[in-house]
């Protein structure tokens, strides 16, 4: 199969054809609605770049567009999906129900089966389910990519049961296809076959297993791509693009993240903390000067014949805030608390001291659990099981938690302390205990409240953020990493 984005006869004149411009413009619009910012100049650059690459070469076109329009690594995956959908294989031979009768494919089939079973010209269509499974086994064993791609196509045609116009999402078809292929059993079979050959050692076994897993993963992606292609053929690129649209990692909402999105979030947080730490350190160093460094000034003046033209100053002593984080870790906001704690802790060197408390309706200090824990997940698990955060029934009670905090630790809040409260302020109609915040605000340097709920939900139902807000120096909506990042930066 040749991957042509544009019809092959369309060569590009110096002025660029109108058709190409319109196609690129549509693609740019799609990228923008997926959240990737593409400026006008970048759009022009892309058109300019396309004049230099062969339009028949799908990969070349893709990389040319990516290089000119996608300027962040985190956007690459979204770009790739949009590209696959928008420039899905078009043309008569890719219509639904009209399977490509590929000579090459037929040859592959007859070659692999050894004996040409009937007429090999029928390609994959003519195979029985057992034969297809056998071929899949061999393809995985040998790591034959071309064959895997062919099998993915055949499997989708056979098992997905796609019908034109049926309003079902791609995941449904994916599930149906993969269930029939039974990849788990295949993996087991592959490993069994390998078991006899290997000269022992857990390491070898692990490596072999991982190799097969990666091949199976490749197959899964092929199947996914094939399903997407067929969906596009059925419904048109624009409609499919809307359904496969996924938020960028920095826009994922903490409170509604799926498991897959959680993984993406977790992966995004490490580079984010690195970036933030550098920025905070820089911010602290810049703009302010320490006292005059006499020795260095004299040394510097020697190059100007003893005239101190440029005074040298000592670097300033950094004043680092002390942070106290008080986090609601009840079910609804647990994910948000987790990411905020992780972010604040990995920035530990930027603050003179970080202490943390967790509460549901009871409250407990959790600083020690988090200290020195490389794996924040394990630390959170320990907090949930060991810390004394439940008082009566395990439903959020901000009033009681805040009062307990004031009684036991209130006196340790002092002028250099910044208090961070994390939670949605959904208090299950208990007393608010807002007076504690008023007291805290008087003692501490700053009191901030971070709420993971959209601003429009505040003070609806049992949310009583309005009771607390007057006592805080700021109440911030923190629904995603982008907002969290913005807040932490101004904290330093």
């Amino acid at each position: 199969m040749v991957g042509e984005v544009f019809p092959p006869d369309e060569t590009l004149p110096a002025g660029s054809s109108a058709g190409l411009l319109a196609t690129v413009a549509g693609f740019v619009a799609e990228l923008r609605s997926a959240g990737i910012p593409v400026s006008l100049t970048e759009n022009l650059d892309a058109v300019e770049a396309l004049r230099h690459v062969p339009l028949g070469d799908r990969d070349a076109v893709k990389y040319a567009m990516a290089a000119t329009m996608v300027k962040a690594d985190a956007h690459w995956k979204v770009f790739e999906t949009v590209f696959d959908v928008y420039f899905a294989y078009r043309g008569e031979q890719y219509r639904l129900g009209h399977e490509p009768e590929d000579d090459e494919e037929a040859q592959l089939v007859s070659g692999l089966l050894g004996v040409p079973e009937g007429d090999a010209g029928g390609g994959m269509e003519a195979l029985s389910a057992e034969q297809l499974a056998e071929m899949l086994y061999r393809a995985l064993r040998d790591g034959d990519r071309a064959l895997l791609a062919a099998i993915a196509r055949a499997a989708v045609a056979r098992y997905a049961g796609m019908e034109p116009g049926r309003p079902v999402g791609g995941t449904y078809y994916l599930y149906r296809t993969l269930r029939q292929l039974d990849l788990e059993a295949l993996l087991g079979r592959l490993l069994d076959a390998e078991g006899g050959v290997g000269e022992g050692g857990d390491l070898d076994e692990r490596l072999v297993r991982e190799e097969y897993e990666s091949r199976i993963d490749a197959l899964r992606k092929q199947v996914e791509a094939e399903i997407r292609r067929r969906l596009v053929a059925d419904r048109g690129a624009e409609a499919v693009a809307r359904t496969v649209r996924r938020p960028l990692p920095e826009d994922i909402e903490f409170m509604h993240a799926t498991r897959e999105e959680m993984v993406a979030l977790r992966r995004a947080i490490a580079p984010l903390t690195r970036k933030l730490a550098v920025r905070l350190a820089r911010k602290r160093r810049r703009g302010r000067r320490g006292p005059l460094d006499f020795r260095a000034t004299v040394r510097e003046s020697l190059s100007a014949g003893g005239v101190p033209i440029e005074p040298v100053f000592k670097p300033p002593r950094p004043s680092k805030p002390e942070i106290m984080v008080v986090a609601d870790i009840s079910g609804s906001v647990a994910a948000f608390a987790r990411f905020t704690l992780q972010l604040v802790y990995s920035l530990g060197s930027q603050f003179s001291r970080v202490r943390a408390w967790a509460f549901i309706d009871g409250i407990d200090e959790v600083t020690d659990y988090l200290k020195g824990a490389d794996d924040i997940g394990a630390a959170i698990h320990r907090i949930n099981t060991e810390a004394d955060v439940i008082w009566v029934d395990g439903h959020s009670d901000y009033g009681h938690a805040l009062e307990a905090f004031w009684d036991r630790w209130g006196r340790q809040v002092e002028g250099r302390t910044t208090v961070l409260l994390l939670g949605d302020a959904r208090n299950n109609y208990h007393a608010s205990g807002a007076w504690v915040l008023a007291e805290l605000a008087r003692r501490a340097r700053h009191v901030y409240w971070l709420d993971p709920e959209p601003r429009s939900y505040w003070d609806t139902g049992d949310s009583i953020i309005g009771h607390y807000a007057p006592h805080c120096d700021g109440v911030y909506e923190c629904r995603n990493l982008k907002q969290l990042e913005r807040f932490v930066e101004q904290l330093g």
């Binding site: 230099h52 857990d202 390491l203 820089r282 490389d374």
Partner: protein
Amino acid sequence: MTDPAPRFASPAEVRRALREVDYLADDGIAGVVFLAERLGKPVLVEGPAGTGKTQLAKSVAEMTGARLIRLQCYEGLDESKALYEWNYKKQLLRIQAQRVAEDGGAGGWGDVEEDIFSEPFLLTRPLLEAIRAEDPVVLLVDEVDRVEVETEALLLEVLSDYQVSIPELGTVAARQVPLVFLTSNNTRELSEALKRRCLFLHIDYPELEREREIVSVRVPGIAEDLAEQVVRIVRSIRALDLKKAPSVSETLDWARTLLLLGIRHVDTETATGTLHVLLKYQSDIDRAAKELAAPAAR
């Protein structure tokens, strides 16, 4: 500014040429280098440390037979280190010489001024040098994310118009468009203006096959089997949740180590014994050792 005939007909050709200088590019890398040459645009290369960002610029220079001019960025880098500086010591000497001559009674201040702000008194720094070069050059601006946002603006004029304005001399325009590579470790977000002017290239850890090729090309004498095993183990380690995943250069170091130790086949013991070549944090080493020693089932 002259526009020489394009050096490469297609991305595939770039890829072949890079291969000849022992740099194994994938389609993305070759495509971007090809476009950079055609469009005359700088390339912003981003990615984890040790994946060959700087090496790409070096290899492209070698491939095209150009001179590599390198500007290493750091915090506090300013105009006088990046663009140009007046050689004030020489200027002082010139003024003093003038004074001596004046005792004889000749010339005025105007002559001196015109004289001391002329090219002989100019110290060119990497950016200006790249622009004034007569011979083909590749300019490498390394770790551009380390400079402040204000200094970044300094780069903009150079990168978009290939010219430098010197108040006393006027504008110096490039005699030819140099290939420019900027690398970034992504410790901060670069400004939109800079990104917009560049082609963007993200270099990630390579695919298994490519990494194996890199190992066999860069570590001469390594057996096919061992190379395969090395890259598989590295992939396995990269999948773990580590502070710092092993980079390509560390993979190469490890392969060389194994070769020197005369190891033909890596078993659990050799792997855990030499992990410190691959990983640089003790907690990472412990973790990987534990994982590799554990039975395969996950």
